[in-house]
Amino acid sequence: MTNKKITVRIQRFNPDTDQKPYLQDFEVELAQGMTILDALHLIKEDLDGSVTFRRSCRHAICGSCAMNVNGQNMLVCETPLREKIDKNGQITIRPLPYLPIIKDLVVDRSSFWAQYQRVKPWLIPPDNVPEKEFRMSAEEVAALNDAEHCIMCGACYSACQVIALNKQYIGPHALLKAFLRVLDPRDADPRARLDDLDKGDGVYRCHTIFNCIDACPKGLNPTKAIETLRKLAMKRQAFEAARKERQKTLDKPVN
């Protein structure tokens, strides 16, 4: 049996020669077990070497291959090609929306990383770092809601309509990271973090559109993180006091 031919439509844009982006069709044979990234590689290697895209790990962990496929953001390295072919035998691949295009499927993520830096994504350790290890309870870990699984792919950020209108907004990825640090019992300065998130570009800028949840390839929930941060920001003084108390026993086993 010969393999079915499908049409891969890729949005092309070369800033040196093109006025605006356009779609280009490529015919590809649909092979067993092929991912969308496999199709892109096939096109680049056999049909047109100038097709430009980012990828690294091919294992859904580096976050560099997030693109917009048939209108949804996803990691192309983990998505089977077969799943995304429409009834006309077509699949349309565009760069992540709402971000400046560098070339073809590669976008400029500067604002994404700038907002990430803004929330100080690292852990601020307490003065009394335990000699052996930090002890957290199962509840404390569960409350983090898997936020540490984020791979910084930008799918949520570029799906967010608030980001589309306002690049000053911190954005779902960085707010999720801030949530991870604020809720971490080891973090020594949740108060300063909440002070910053409470500002105009912070948690109240979210319009609860939910595109971040729909877009996240890791099934994470930035909206819920933002709702939690809003509530904590309102009682940050009490929260800070509770954290100080908690940090006195970070080296002791809990429950």
Binding site: G71, P97, A159, T208, I209, F210, N211, D214, T223, E227
Partner: protein
């Protein structure tokens, strides 16, 4: 454009919110007519009594109802952990709004057609 039910709800919310603000200006203009005496007020009321404005009133009703139920939907999301049901909540708010708009809009329409 990132299309999703969330996007539709955001556009509808903004559209109805701005429409309501614009309506408010007109509303103040009509009611404010009373300051200039009964005649002005009656003139302005009559202007709004035309069939065209009757029909536009159905649009106003739709905007108020949808905006209010969308607001309630958002309050529910803010106070309860229900992001999992985000699509169902949107559909619920939308369908309830459509039903109430028909229930309230039909009498207005019939009245407008009677003249």
């Amino acid at each position: 454009m990132y299309k999703s039910t969330g996007f539709i709800s955001f556009v509808l919310r903004r559209f109805t919110g701005v429409a309501l603000v614009l309506y408010l200006f007109m509303h103040i203009w009509v009611i404010g007519g009373a300051n200039s005496g009964a005649e002005t007020f009656n003139d302005r009321m009559e202007f709004l009594g035309s069939p065209l404005f009757r029909i536009a009133e159905i649009g106003l009703l739709a905007a108020v109802i949808y905006h209010a139920f969308d607001g309630i939907r958002l309050l529910i999301v803010h106070y309860f952990d229900v992001t999992e049901y985000r699509k169902s909540l949107f559909y619920a708010a939308f369908v309830v709004s459509v039903i109430l708009t028909i229930a309230g809009g039909l009498p207005i329409l019939l009245h407008a057609l009677e003249g």
